[in-house]
Amino acid sequence: MSAILRVIGPLGPSRHMSRFTLNRCMCLPLFVPARLISSTSTRFQDARPQEPQSQSQMPRMSSEEFQKLYQQHKLKKQKERTRTAANYSMSLGLIFLALAFGSVPLYRAICQRTGWGGTPMTDASKITPDKLIPVNTNKKIRVSFTAETSSMLPWKFVPQQREVYLVPGETALAFYKAKNTSDKDIIGMATYSVTPDHVAPYFNKIQCFCFEEQKLNAGEEVDMPLFFFIDPDFASDPAMKNIDDIVLHYTFFKANYGADGDTLVPVVAKTSE
């Protein structure tokens, strides 16, 4: 087929074709095999003096043939092109789909590692012993404790010490006391807040009683300890220079197990009653 193309040359009316093809044949001696050269040259040498006849017979035929072949070739090329394009677009779609599915754990992993966007870094290995060295300073920071319960929770929840004076890097133990004043077993869940807000990243809790359900039996009173420290980098942060008073506030909410029996759901007061 390529040989025929070479012979016939570019598209054009059949009248000019023989002239073009002749030139072409002369110009491409290297690419055309020897036997073809002889056959084509003889063919066209024969054709030239008998131009009108050959044009009437052969070129028209070859033109149709050529057109057909060219169309076939074009179709094949187009098919290939569309196939390639389809492959590319499908793979692109798959990549984005995979990214969409994998983005959640990936994002979580990256944020956990780098603490991007204020993600809490709860890596237990973050509290290394070298962070727990008290800073050698005279200025003690006062950490006050406050407590609150939701109105739906019939517990009496108080801190057992009003405050603790400590130095960044020093671990401290604090206690809260909770008493279930009702006659039913109640599950509560605590959350906390640190004031002022920008101290919060420096406030590290090693262990406390928050974020997990705490079940108190009817009439039971229990001591809830809290073990924490302030990151030693607090002392070297210029933004924290004027801070010597931190308030740690715990709030207890009532929690129920949801319909599926697995998830803990906070119980909030109904507003439409």
């Binding site: 603790v164 807000d197 928050c210 001591d223 300890p225």
Partner: protein
């Protein structure tokens, strides 16, 4: 939580504790140590004094013994090791 208009866009969320939550001491196994610690705190007027920290260590030790807390090295809790504190004590850790 912070309705501070001029502040950075820190949507601070409370973080879970690093070692998880303390299991509740329903039976009051470590109440004695806790009372001692609180009394000490009252005496030193709530300063986190070294002797009170030793009592805190005692409380946590009681918790660990009663399986209310995972046993960890004291250095990881920022408390002095046993060997340094009491030369006569058997080296447990």
């Amino acid at each position: 939580m912070s309705a501070n208009p001029g502040n950075k866009l820190n949507a601070w969320k409370p973080t879970p504790p690093d070692r998880g939550s303390f299991p509740l001491d329903h039976f009051g196994d470590c109440t004695e140590q806790m009372k001692k610690y609180l009394a000490c705190l009252k005496i030193v007027r709530n300063e986190n004094a070294p002797n009170c920290r030793l009592l805190a260590k005692g409380y946590l030790e009681c918790r660990m013994q009663n399986e209310l807390m995972d046993r960890v090295k004291w250095s990881e809790l920022g408390l002095p090791d046993d060997a340094k504190v009491d030369k006569n004590a058997t080296n447990e850790k």
